[in-house]
């Protein structure tokens, strides 16, 4: 009771911040200033979200690690009090089946193991020549085409899209269909109807593709899933849903990293020069980790709920409390990354949380790393005069999307 009164008094004194907070104009790569201050001031605090509830907001890097790794922290969005991303996400809850995203162990472990095979280091390293060829072909086409060009449609989107469609075993010619429905399925401003319609379109398409692969398998992920359906390990709808997850997560994220990363580097020529002037894969790999940290495109907060009371960072998170883990602010925590506002491609940044942490850490992270290493390691060397063909003020940023990025990036050379 005393706690409740004290909390109420505090809330009256200072209204809780709204989450997510808007970024400031003028520094499009930085999280909002109030968010950047939190890891040092209050690594665990409270914030108000769209439905008026006040989940915990975790911004400290160390505190995030503890909570991400704690089995008492759940992703079960059916728990009352779960801090849903949006009205649409809350509304469509009962229509959303169990997937790798909203399942805890042991169901999560079963889903995850069905997906990990194609994303091992060996399998991903073996894709290097193919990714290099797609990248070179796209750069050739861009150089042969008109100036200025839009880097998003010329390079950033096609490279990961070609890769994920080849990996899955679906025709690249259908990419406009995937992209259109993929964007709507994850758009937090989409109506529940729009979001359901797009999800259904994708699941239906992939279910048909999996059934086709059951009769006529090839060397691809959909054929692997088809074999698991035949073996009775998974149903066609569940397998199709896993494929949708890979398809959406597999192109939208890397595409945003490529275009946004290029814009950040064009603003900081001395950093771009480090990539342009090296052919050392270790230098490129370290640069990729720092760009992942600095940009942290998953910017809408990882959502969780406490199943039991958990003591962390001097606070007690009660069973049933919602938890939001904000990745960009933890990646700007000065305790973990000295001078965190600096983009420094030579620093050691591999402990960043750009892919999350804990058992839900990104399945495709090794593929994303290789794609980014190849694109960043090739583009500026092949086009050393690459430059922005507009003012940065004219660039439109994806404030409204699950993954941050730019809609278009006009470049010339």
């Amino acid at each position: 009771m005393a706690d409740t009164l004290a909390d109420t008094a505090n809330e009256a004194a200072a209204p809780l911040p709204e989450y997510p907070m808007p970024r400031q104009s003028g520094c499009p790569f930085d999280p909002p200033a109030a968010m950047r201050a939190l890891p040092a001031e209050r690594p665990i605090s409270r914030a108000r979200i769209w439905d008026g509830s006040t989940p915990w907001l975790v911004t400290g890097h160390a505190e995030q690690r503890i909570l991400f790794a704690d089995p008492r922290v759940s992703v079960d969005e059916h728990q009352p009090g779960f801090p849903h991303q949006s009205h649409a996400m809350a509304e469509t809850l009962d229509h959303r089946p169990l997937t790798i995203f909203n399942a805890d162990a042991p169901e999560h472990t079963r889903f995850r193991r069905m997906l990990t095979g194609p994303f091992t280091l060996k399998r991903v390293e073996a894709l290097r020549p193919a990714i290099q060829k797609i990248t070179d072909d796209r750069i050739d086409a861009m150089l042969a085409g008109p100036k200025p060009a839009d880097l998003v449609t010329a390079l950033a989107l096609p490279v990961p899209t070609v890769m994920i469609t080849e990996l899955l075993g679906v025709p690249y010619k259908d990419h406009e269909f995937f992209q259109r429905h993929g964007v709507t399925a994850v758009d937090r401003d989409a109506t529940p109807e729009q979001s359901r319609e797009s999800s259904t379109a994708l699941v239906t398409y992939l279910a048909e593709a999996i059934v086709a692969k059951m009769a006529d398998p090839a060397e691809d992920v959909l054929s692997d899933l088809a074999a698991r359906v035949k073996a009775g390990e998974v149903t066609v709808p569940d397998a199709a849903l896993m494929a949708v997850v890979l398809l959406i997560a597999g192109h939208e994220t890397s595409a945003n990293m490529i275009a946004l990363g290029t814009l950040a580097l064009l603003q900081q020529p001395e950093q771009l020069a480090l990539l342009r002037d090296t052919d050392d894969p270790k230098v490129v790999a370290a640069a990729v980790e720092e760009l992942l940290r600095y940009l942290t495109i998953a910017h809408t907060g990882q959502r969780r709920i406490a199943l039991e009371d958990i003591e962390v960072g001097g606070e007690v998170i009660r069973a049933g409390d919602g938890i939001i883990l904000d990745l960009p602010s933890a990646n700007r925590d000065a305790e973990a990354f000295p001078e965190p506002q600096q983009l420094d491609l030579t620093r050691s940044a591999r402990h960043h949380h750009a892919f999350g942490f804990g058992i839900h850490q990104c399945v495709g992270q090794l593929l994303a790393r290789v794609e980014l290493q190849i694109v960043y390691g090739t583009l500026y060397r092949r086009i050393p005069t690459l430059q922005l063909a507009t003012e940065i003020e004219q660039i439109e940023f994806k404030h409204d999307r699950l993954a941050y990025g730019v809609y278009e990036l006009p470049v010339t050379w």
């Binding site: 472990t109 193991r113 095979g117 091992t120 591999r350 999350g356 942490f357 058992i359």
Partner: protein, 68 residues
């Protein structure tokens, strides 16, 4: 240094193989961790500690041995 891995916890994120390929590998079919060296040489201790720290699922346990 004694290294132990817990296959049931492993989520095949591949961080350990990236950090210390001399000590960790991944099973072909599902990417689950394979321990190549239970007692890696002293020159590998730093990268093994990094691998354990980066493992998102805390599937790697290290015990420091008193060398004698």
């Amino acid at each position: 240094m004694q290294v132990e891995v817990d296959e049931s916890k492993c989520i095949a994120a591949g961080q350990c193989v990236l950090s210390a390929p001399e000590v960790f590998d991944q099973r072909d079919e599902d990417g689950i961790v394979v321990l190549l060296a239970e007692r890696p040489g002293a020159e590998l201790h730093d990268v093994v500690r990094e691998a354990a720290g980066l493992c998102p699922a805390a599937a790697i346990r290290l015990a420091e041995l008193v060398e004698g």
